[in-house]
C-alpha cells in the first residue's frame, strides 16, 4: 500500500499528473477516489474490495473528469483491458495517461463485502482469471499474487441454461429481464459503453424501445451484449451495478465464449490486438448459413 501511495505522491509532486484516480475507504468499503493533492495520497488503498473498474471514468464524455487534467489511474489486469479497449477505439491516447498497475489475486463481488477473500465470496469472474497483473501499465505495484480459487462456475450456469429448450430459455430471460427498469446503470458503469448517444436513446427510429417492458428490455440487453462482443473486458461491473440483480454477466460471458470458440479471441490488454467483430477471415466458419 505504501508503495502505491509513494508512487502517487511522486507523480503528483513531479507534476507528471494532475490527479490520481484510485481507491479509498469509505463507510461502506472501497470506493473510487480522485486525489489532486500529494498530501491526500495516504488515502489511497488497494485490496480485494477494490472491485470498481475505474476505466469507466476515462471516457472523454466525462467532462468533469477531463477538467482534472492529466490522470494517473490505478488499474487491475481486467481494468487494463478496458483501458486498452478505449485506446484501441480511439477514445484515449496512451501517452495521455499514467497507468499504475496493481497485482490482483481476485476481488469480492461488492466493495462492502468481507475483509477476507475466500473461495465462497470471490467474484465468479475472477475464478479462472489468468492475469495477475496488467501488461499495459507504466508502473506495477503490490506483491505477487497467487491465482484466485473459487467455487463459482459460470460455465456451469451457462450450460444449465443451454440445456433448456428454446421456450424455457425465452421465458427465463423474459422473466429475468422484466426486472429491468432501464436505469442504465449497466451501461453507465461499463467502460466500453462510451457512445456519445447510446442506440437505446436513439428515437428516430427507435430501434430499441425505451419503455422498460419485456419487449424493449429484450432488445436492449441482447443488443448491448452484441455491441460488447469481443469488446467486453469481463470486469463484471454491469452485473454488480444492476439494482434489479439481473445476471447480465451471463449474456456477456456467453458472447465471450462464442467469439472465443469461433474466432479464437480472448479479450486482451494489448491495444494493437484487433477485435473479432469488424474483422474477418475468408475461411470463417459458416455452418449456420445455407
Amino acid at each position: 500500500m505504501q508503495e502505491l501511495r509513494d508512487l502517487a505522491k511522486k507523480l503528483l509532486l513531479d507534476k507528471q499528473v494532475n490527479a490520481i484516480l484510485g481507491y479509498e475507504w469509505d463507510r461502506r468499503g472501497a470506493r473510487p477516489a480522485f486525489i489532486t493533492e500529494a498530501g491526500d495520497c495516504d488515502r489511497l488503498v488497494f485490496d480485494h474490495r477494490c472491485v470498481q473498474n475505474l476505466a469507466a471514468y476515462l471516457s472523454p464524455r466525462r467532462a468533469n473528469i477531463a477538467q482534472l487534467g492529466r490522470l494517473a489511474v490505478v488499474i487491475k489486469a481486467c481494468d487494463a483491458r478496458a483501458v486498452a479497449g478505449l485506446i484501441r477505439e480511439n477514445q484515449l491516447k496512451r501517452e495521455d495517461l499514467v497507468l499504475i498497475g496493481v497485482r490482483c489475486g481476485g476481488v469480492v463481488v461488492n466493495p462492502s463485502d468481507s475483509e477476507q477473500l475466500n473461495a465462497e465470496n470471490i467474484a465468479p469472474r475472477c475464478v479462472g482469471c489468468e492475469q495477475r497483473e496488467p501488461t499495459l501499465a507504466d508502473h506495477l505495484v503490490g506483491e505477487t499474487q497467487s491465482a484466485p480459487v473459487g467455487k463459482a462456475n459460470r460455465d456451469l450456469r451457462l450450460s444449465e441454461i443451454e440445456k433448456l429448450n428454446p421456450e424455457e430459455r425465452l421465458s427465463l430471460w423474459t422473466s429475468l429481464l422484466s426486472q429491468c427498469t432501464r436505469c442504465y446503470a449497466c451501461r453507465q458503469v461499463c467502460p466500453m459503453c462510451f457512445c456519445e448517444r447510446c442506440i437505446a436513446d436513439k428515437t428516430q427510429p427507435a430501434w430499441i424501445e425505451s419503455s422498460p417492458h419485456s419487449r424493449g428490455n429484450f432488445s436492449w440487453h441482447l443488443t448491448r451484449a452484441l455491441h460488447l462482443a469481443g469488446r467486453c473486458v469481463d470486469c463484471g461491473e454491469c452485473e454488480r451495478a444492476c439494482p434489479a440483480g439481473i445476471p447480465l454477466g451471463l449474456l456477456n460471458h456467453k458472447v465471450a465464449r462464442i467469439v472465443a470458440s469461433r474466432y479464437g479471441y480472448a479479450v486482451s490488454d494489448d491495444p494493437s490486438r484487433e477485435t473479432p467483430i469488424g474483422s474477418y477471415r475468408l475461411d470463417d466458419e459458416q455452418e449456420f448459413i445455407a
Partner: protein
C-alpha cells in the same frame, strides 16, 4: 385456402445477389411459398441485427437473411463482416431462447433462382412447424402495479 398456419416471414436480402437471384426465380417461374416478403438492402453488410429483432417485435414468425456467397460480395467484404456479426447474433439469440429455426441465413447468388425457391420453401415449412411466434416478449403490464378494473 387451407387451415394451415401461414407464417409471416420477412427476408432481408442484398441487392446484388439474392435479390437478383429472387428475380431469376421469378423469371424462371419457380413456384414457391407466398409467405416470404423481401426487404431489399444494398449488401448483407448493411443488415443489422436490429432489423431482425424489430421484425420479431412487429409480429414476424420468421426471418431470412441472405446475400452473396463468400468472395462474391459486390462490395468485396460486406458479407464477411455480416457473417461474423450473424454468427455471434445467432448463438446469442439461441441462448436467449429464440429458436434458430426461425432465422434462416443463406447465401444465394444471382444465378441461384432455384436455391432461393428452396430457401423460401424450407424456411416457410420450418416456421410453419414451429407455429406462430407468440412467445416473443411483449409489452405486458408491470408485474407489481395495481391492475385496472375490468
Amino acid at each position: 385456402m387451407s387451415d394451415l398456419f401461414e407464417p409471416n416471414i420477412v427476408a432481408f436480402v442484398c441487392n446484388w445477389c439474392t435479390y437478383t437471384g429472387a428475380d431469376l426465380a421469378g423469371t424462371s417461374r419457380l413456384t414457391m411459398a407466398p409467405n416470404v416478403r423481401i426487404i431489399r438492402l444494398p449488401c448483407t453488410g448493411r443488415i443489422d441485427t436490429l432489423f431482425i429483432l424489430k421484425a420479431f417485435e412487429r409480429g414476424a414468425d420468421g426471418v431470412i437473411v441472405s446475400g452473396c456467397h463468400p468472395a462474391d460480395c459486390h462490395y468485396t467484404a460486406g458479407n464477411y463482416h455480416a457473417r461474423r456479426r450473424f454468427a455471434v447474433f445467432r448463438e446469442l439469440m439461441e441462448f436467449a431462447g429464440i429458436d434458430p429455426q426461425r432465422v434462416t441465413f443463406s447465401w444465394v447468388s444471382a444465378s441461384e433462382g432455384g436455391k432461393w425457391a428452396e430457401v423460401v420453401n424450407n424456411a416457410t415449412e420450418q416456421v410453419r412447424r414451429l407455429g406462430p411466434f407468440q412467445k416473443y416478449p411483449s409489452p405486458a403490464a408491470h408485474a407489481g402495479e395495481i391492475a385496472c378494473k375490468s
